[in-house]
């Protein structure tokens, strides 16, 4: 859940794939009313105590005076503030503000030149990277959002993209997001939109790079995919249930003080008023019933941890519509499949959420602590089985899922293990003919 302030949708760059292009044509958002924004921010903050994030457009085009006023106000309310910026206008004054008001900054950049060319030119790209270094030097460590497309996501870009990720890690930036571009403008689709197969290859490769081949990388959505498969819940709205028109994941305060929802659905130049009373389940009623060949998710094993992806990404055969599953389905399935294989290779006794016969779909979103019971690693925990193992066949307790019986299972554990294990507690290391003891 996020509370965003979009004081302006103006921007000093002109990212070709920006989902706010149409909005800039239909709505005059070049002015803003700081006092109204503050008034609404206070009201919304009181409701859910979420720290606000300055977003846009580009928030820094509002100018130092107004940016500081909003940062200060947000800081006094919540003790911290977020900001998503393209980073071009960041200077010492802004960095001082970031420190003073505990601002968590996200920089939107698609890699070094020329990977960033869908956003801006070489000079600007180099300046943004200099600004990142300048922030880090002053102990303000930003996160990064990279949008993936044909200008940075094809195999020929891979080495430079990975080098960028490692370069960021070398200065202390371990993570951020690697998001597939949601391109709605026909005029740039051909130039920038990855095909489903290209996107799948890219996500498979980056999943291995982030999760397997390197230490301490925390890029999303890869980390969330692991958590999702283990039934731990997700921090990524893309894989949760979200209403296209009301987007629980985000409340937006517009420059005129009005309140709307996530702008990812603004590709037709419309934003929607926030209305907490609306019904929000239609997409999920229909998608789980509609066969995949018609753009639904029927019988997809990843349904409980994907739900057809972000509704604003909904598309089939070039037709964009929230009633279709995500246009990135092929990539998401490839990503889940890759991560699933890696987890199962390392820990064959893991019981992933997709391996359960029945996962409740009633919850609005699978959440940590109330979803996978017993937990994914239960075959490795003595509370649940007599012979816990990450890979050996396990001998289960008859009543292992009942909490009161867990106790019985646990209390008998030592005895049972001794009685039922031919070779005692330790598996032999000198031969391999009885690995499943």
């Amino acid at each position: 859940m996020a509370l965003s302030i979009k004081g302006t949708i103006d921007c000093n760059l002109n990212c070709k794939y920006c989902y706010e292009h149409e909005l800039r044509k239909t709505q005059n958002r070049t002015t803003w009313d700081i006092s109204k924004i503050k008034q609404i921010l206070k009201k919304l903050y009181e409701e859910k105590k979420e720290a606000p994030t300055l977003h846009g457009g580009e928030p820094l085009v509002m100018g130092k005076k107004d940016v500081e006023e909003l940062l200060k106000f947000g800081y006094n309310l919540a003790g911290r503030v977020g900001m998503q910026t393209n980073g071009l206008l960041i200077d010492d004054d802004y960095i001082d503000m970031f420190k003073k008001y505990n601002v968590h900054v996200g920089i939107s950049i698609d890699g070094p030149w020329p990977l960033n060319k869908a956003r801006t030119n070489k000079e600007n790209t180099e300046q943004i990277i200099k600004n990142i270094y300048k922030m880090v030097a002053k102990d303000v460590t930003p996160g990064i959002i990279v949008v993936l497309h044909r200008a940075n996501g094809l195999p020929e870009h891979r080495e430079q993209l990975k080098e960028f990720i490692l370069e960021m890690k070398s200065i202390g930036i371990n993570g951020g997001r690697l998001n597939l571009a949601e391109i709605d403008r026909e005029e740039v689709k051909e130039e920038l939109e990855l095909s489903p197969e290209e996107a799948a290859e890219l996500y498979e490769d980056l999943a291995k790079f982030v999760l397997v081949e390197n230490d301490n990388l925390r890029w999303q959505p890869f980390r969330d995919v692991v958590d999702n498969l283990l039934g731990l819940g997700t921090g990524t709205c893309v894989f949760g249930k979200c209403d296209y028109f009301q987007a629980d994941a985000e409340r937006v305060i517009n420059g005129d003080g009005s309140i709307s929802t996530c702008y990812k659905n603004a590709n037709e130049g419309i934003t929607y008023e926030k209305d907490n009373n609306s019904r929000k389940t239609e997409r999920y009623e229909l998608l789980k019933s509609v066969p995949m060949e018609y753009g639904g998710c029927k019988e997809c094993k990843y349904w409980p941890i994907c739900y057809g992806g972000c509704p604003a990404e909904g598309a089939q055969n070039g037709i964009q519509d929230w009633r279709f599953r995500s246009r990135h389905c092929t990539a998401y399935r490839a990503l889940y499949s890759t991560v699933e294989k890696h987890i199962k290779r390392l820990l064959p006794n893991t019981e992933l959420i997709i391996n359960r016969n029945k996962v409740s779909d009633d919850d609005y979103q699978i959440r940590s602590g109330n979803s996978l019971k017993p937990p994914a690693l239960h075959k490795m925990i003595v509370d649940y089985v007599r012979n816990p193992s990450s890979w050996r066949g396990v001998q289960g307790c008859k009543n292992k899922q009942k909490s009161n019986n867990k106790k019985d299972c646990k209390s008998n554990n030592g005895k049972n293990r001794a009685n039922n294990t031919k070779h005692g507690d330790k598996a032999h290391g000198d031969h391999s003919d009885h690995g499943d003891s």
Binding site: Q27, F245, Q246, N254, S258, S260, I270, T271, Y272, E273, D275, S278, R279, E282, E285, L286, L287, S289, V290, P291, Y294, G295, G296, I319, D321, R323, F324
Partner: protein, 284 residues
Amino acid sequence: MNNQIMTKEDLMEGIDIFPFTRTIWHNHKDVELWKKKYNMACPLHHRAEYLMVKQGHRKCATTHLRPQTFEKTLEKIYQDNLVWLPIQRTKSYNGFSHKHFPTDGNDPDSSVYGVLARNLEDAELFRSSSRNDEGTDHNTIGDLLGFPSCAGEFFNDIWLSGFFDPMWQQAVNTKNAELIDDRTVKVTGSIYNNQLLRYVGLRFNSHLPCSFNCDKSIETGKVWEEVGESLNKEAAGDLKDILRLDMEWSCLHGVAQIQTKYFTIITNSLPTKDRWVIKYEAID
């Protein structure tokens, strides 16, 4: 025009979204004005249904008697010298439904669907036509409800074939309809025949016209307008303003979406495999 026919092959089986309607307002500087118009106009048709019978413009109307207002409604019907006969108890639902959900008297979440008429004879005829052993007699029902004969034929031809939300069929029947692609049609039509917002009650006619420019339906629509004006002239004007808006109706996977400049409505509809689109421009 070169009609693009929607066939049963275009629908999916086993998908039946439970009735609902949602109105989502856009961030627009004039939105408060349109919310006011909407709130004024939405109840008008329902109120006019009753008056259309009382004033003799039609013999019958269908109406639900709800437990919460049962005694008040019956008292009013009695005082107005009208009659009402029950036909079926049906499960309650929010929004717009294309069918009834039969239930019994033990279901507290239900209402009774029935017929309102000026005399018992018409009410009995309506009820027996609804419960005919050989199936429902839609022609007789259409006559009693005051539907033009062409609308009855359209209903028998299209609705009874399983196309319970036949907006596409109405659009492609319209003389000036222009097919933009296989499943997108542009149509200019009378506000009196515009049923694209009926899911929230925004309509003049109560029937489904055979086309957006059907003259007979325009005639009956004007009668509905007069009756509506007699109830609340401002609300009738607001209804006209709303029905004059350019709008786009689309249907996909059992959900219809109707988008205007100021609001979007979504509701349950035909379970189509692909998206079908009507781009509507109004004429008075």
